[in-house]
């Protein structure tokens, strides 16, 4: 059975329906890309999977590890092994990166019965340094406030660091409309490629096919007007780059 199953997912915000029946299956070890024009619902899909309170799910189901996910709070989804790399991560002034990561790691280690199993400080420190080195993150970042005053590249690195620390089974990367520069592309792709494998699958959401040159997807899905209208192998990226979304009835410049 696939690790993540999305069936006939409908979702709306402020009464406007954005997702109109999305079906998708994804397992660890796989990389799926979702591409689509602006406003097709890509970012909504990412937020609904993680449980953003502003969206209302009106139909369908999401099953992850055999559990009905839609009933769960965002933190419960995270502890099950879902991860969302935000396009625009919030800043939390006054809370240091180190402090936050330790709490998040401990939340992840907490048992289903709520029993605490906090990580020992030396172990945490070792894990943090290893991941920071791998992601080329300066050590001084741990004492800065979470995302507060971070540059675009620093925010990307911070999202990748969190992913590496929390070791999700399925990571969703929301890169919907960001004009990622080469630097940022490398940060994101290095972060994902390091972890994709038997332990993790990824759902990469992007507008441009450029990112897919750095992260090789196994499957590409085209999302238009809240539905997946086409699914194919990695070759679809080139086709989209040549022809844009016009074949799907969307007027927009090439991707």
């Amino acid at each position: 059975m696939p690790d993540l199953i999305i069936r006939n997912l409908h979702a709306s915000i402020d009464g406007a329906e954005i997702l109109k029946g999305v079906d998708l299956e994804l397992s660890k070890g796989e990389v799926h890309a979702i591409m689509g024009p602006n406003g097709s619902g890509k970012s909504t899909l990412a937020h609904v999977l993680m449980g953003h309170p502003a969206y209302e799910v009106t139909d369908g189901e999401v099953v992850f590890q055999g559990e009905q996910v839609l009933e769960l709070e965002p933190d419960e989804r995270a502890r099950l092994g879902l991860f969302l790399a935000f396009q625009y991560p919030s800043s939390i002034p006054g809370v240091t990166v180190a402090n936050f990561l330790r709490l998040a790691v401990n939340a992840q280690r907490r048992g289903a019965d709520g029993e605490e199993n906090p990580i020992r400080i030396p172990e945490f420190r070792g894990m943090l340094q290893e991941n920071m080195d791998a992601l080329k993150i300066d050590r001084s970042m741990t004492s800065r406030y979470l995302n507060d005053g971070f540059s675009g590249g620093e925010k990307k690195r911070m999202e990748m660091l969190q992913m590496a620390m929390l070791r999700p089974q399925i990571a969703i990367l929301d890169e919907t409309d960001s004009g990622l520069d080469i630097d940022a592309l490398r940060i994101v792709s290095d972060g994902v490629n390091r972890l994709v494998g038997p332990e993790m699958g990824a759902l990469v959401i992007t507008h441009y096919s450029r990112l897919l040159k750095y992260i090789q997807p196994h499957h590409i899905h085209v999302l238009v007007d809240g539905r997946i209208v086409r699914s194919a192998g990695p070759e679809l990226a080139d086709e989209l780059e040549r022809e844009g979304y016009a074949p799907y009835g969307v007027q927009e410049a090439a991707v």
Binding site: P53, A54, P74, D75, S90
Partner: protein, 471 residues
């Protein structure tokens, strides 16, 4: 069995408040409930005080009678002055070691972690229980350098001239109704003198504990920091939870001489049946620095506005205020700065959190006297409201009598952002943990000013307050 039952009852009544227990210590001397001139004279006689202090007390009592309750701030009409014990003496003799205390009382201090803290990171400790300081100690090398750290009663006995020079001069007996009350019935508190040039590197701590029901605690503190000296004084306070009210009304006077620096940190965690009505004021002379770090988490009603009079050129004053008002609490806190000399500067930073119908008010006064040219002041008040049942007020009075000054005030009110909450929860934090983390971040500009142990304690208290707030 009976004891078990009592503990069980307490467990229910106390809830999240960890210090709501009380012990069965019988006091050695009780004044009857209520207050009249005879009680005032009796307290003074019992303490064998000099004549001038007795007269000071009586004069203060008469002013207390005349003075109406303040018509602003929190509602104090419910205080039953006749039902309060104004003086309870818990032990015959002040102890020099913790082991000399009666076992029940010793246990209380252990539960509060004071002997432990003394060993680890304090230069001296005073522990007040009801009306008297029951334990007092100062590191020997500090005593050798001439540092005086005593309870106020001993201070009066051993350093009468110094006390007489300052006592009641910074906060006169007729300053306000509760300062008058304290001046009439004061007992305990700290007397500190730091000689010129001496820097006390580790904090001195005083801990105030109310144990009896309907207790009135009126400690009196006088701190004198001589030229170029430094001291950091920390106070903590807790009380048991009772269904009827207790009153805590302290007066704290501080004099910082030229070039000296004093930092006074309060972590107030009274139980929610305590009225906490405190007057605190410091005078800073030329190039001296006074800093108040004032954390108000407990009590039913707090009215407290630590003040600094910048009396000499180049003096600096700072007030960092945190208030957390939960269910049934009204924290009316803030700060007052008077610029009375040229080129003085001040900063007031206030962070308040209101939750579960609690109300926190910032009330401040910034006064620039004529002639205080080149004064600079900045007041920043940020309020966080956790839910829609709670309330926040901001009253920053600004009186300027001089035109060559730079004064700024800013205030914001915010709630916990939905996006911030979602972001943290998507990393596996529960809503409670995520909210507590955002709140800790909100007050971080102030907690970072505290020694680590106190910052940890403050954050822990905030977490406790945040528990059960969502869901």
């Amino acid at each position: 069995m009976a004891e078990l039952t009592r503990e069980e009852q307490e467990a229910v009544a106390i809830g999240d408040y960890k210090y709501g227990f009380h012990d069965e210590v019988t006091s050695v001397f009780d004044m009857r409930r209520g207050l009249d001139e005879a009680v005032v004279r009796e307290i003074s006689a019992h303490k064998n005080e000099p004549e001038w202090m007795t007269e000071f007390r009586v004069k203060s009592y008469q002013h207390f009678l005349k003075r109406p309750l303040p018509q602003w701030g929190a509602d104090l009409g419910t205080i039953d002055f006749d039902n309060i014990y104004y003086y309870l003496k818990p032990v015959e003799q002040q102890a020099k070691t913790w082991d000399d205390l009666p076992p029940g009382m010793r246990e209380t201090w252990d539960k509060l972690g004071i002997p432990e803290a003394e060993k680890k990171y304090l230069a001296g400790v005073g522990a007040q229980y009801e009306s008297e300081v029951v334990y007092h100690n100062l590191q020997e090398d500090l005593a050798k350098q001439g540092v005086v750290f005593l309870d106020m009663d001993s201070g009066l006995r051993e350093h009468e001239d110094l006390v007489r020079q300052y006592f009641g001069t910074i906060i006169p007996y007729n300053d306000n109704k509760f300062a008058a009350l304290n001046s009439a019935v004061w007992s305990g508190g700290s007397f500190i003198y730091v000689p010129p040039g001496v820097k006390v590197e580790l904090p001195l701590q005083a801990y105030f504990r109310i144990n009896a029901e309907n207790m009135g605690q009126f400690e009196r503190t006088l701190i004198i920091v001589d030229k170029d000296a430094y001291v950091h004084y920390v106070e903590g306070c807790t009380a048991p939870i009772y269904s009827t009210d207790s009153l805590h009304s302290a007066v704290v006077e501080i004099h910082v001489a030229e070039g000296g620096r004093c930092r006074y940190t309060t972590i107030q965690n009274w139980s929610t049946n305590v009225y906490n009505l405190v007057t605190k004021r410091a005078v800073a002379e030329r190039n001296a620095t006074m800093e108040w770090v004032d954390g108000n988490l407990g009590s039913q009603i707090t009215m407290k506005y630590p003040a600094v009079i910048l009396n000499g050129e180049g003096a600096r004053g700072e007030v960092l205020s945190i208030a957390f008002a939960g269910k049934g609490q009204h924290q009316d806190a803030g700060g007052k700065i008077t610029h009375a000399a040229p080129n003085t500067s001040s900063v007031i930073t206030s962070k308040s959190i209101s939750k579960d119908g609690g109300r926190s008010s910032y009330r401040g006064l910034l006064q620039v006297n004529e002639g205080a040219v080149g004064s600079k002041s900045k007041v920043v008040c940020d309020a966080l409201i956790i839910d829609e049942d709670s309330r926040t007020d901001t009253y920053p009075y600004i009186n300027i009598d001089e035109n060559d000054v730079e004064i700024g005030h800013e205030a914001t009110v915010s709630k916990i952002g939905e996006e911030q909450l979602f972001y943290l929860m998507s990393r596996g934090l529960s809503e409670e943990e995520a909210s507590a983390m955002i709140v800790s971040g909100f007050v971080e500009p102030i907690t970072k000013e505290l020694p680590l142990e106190y910052a940890v304690e403050l954050n822990r208290l905030i977490q406790l307050q945040m528990e059960g707030s969502v869901g």
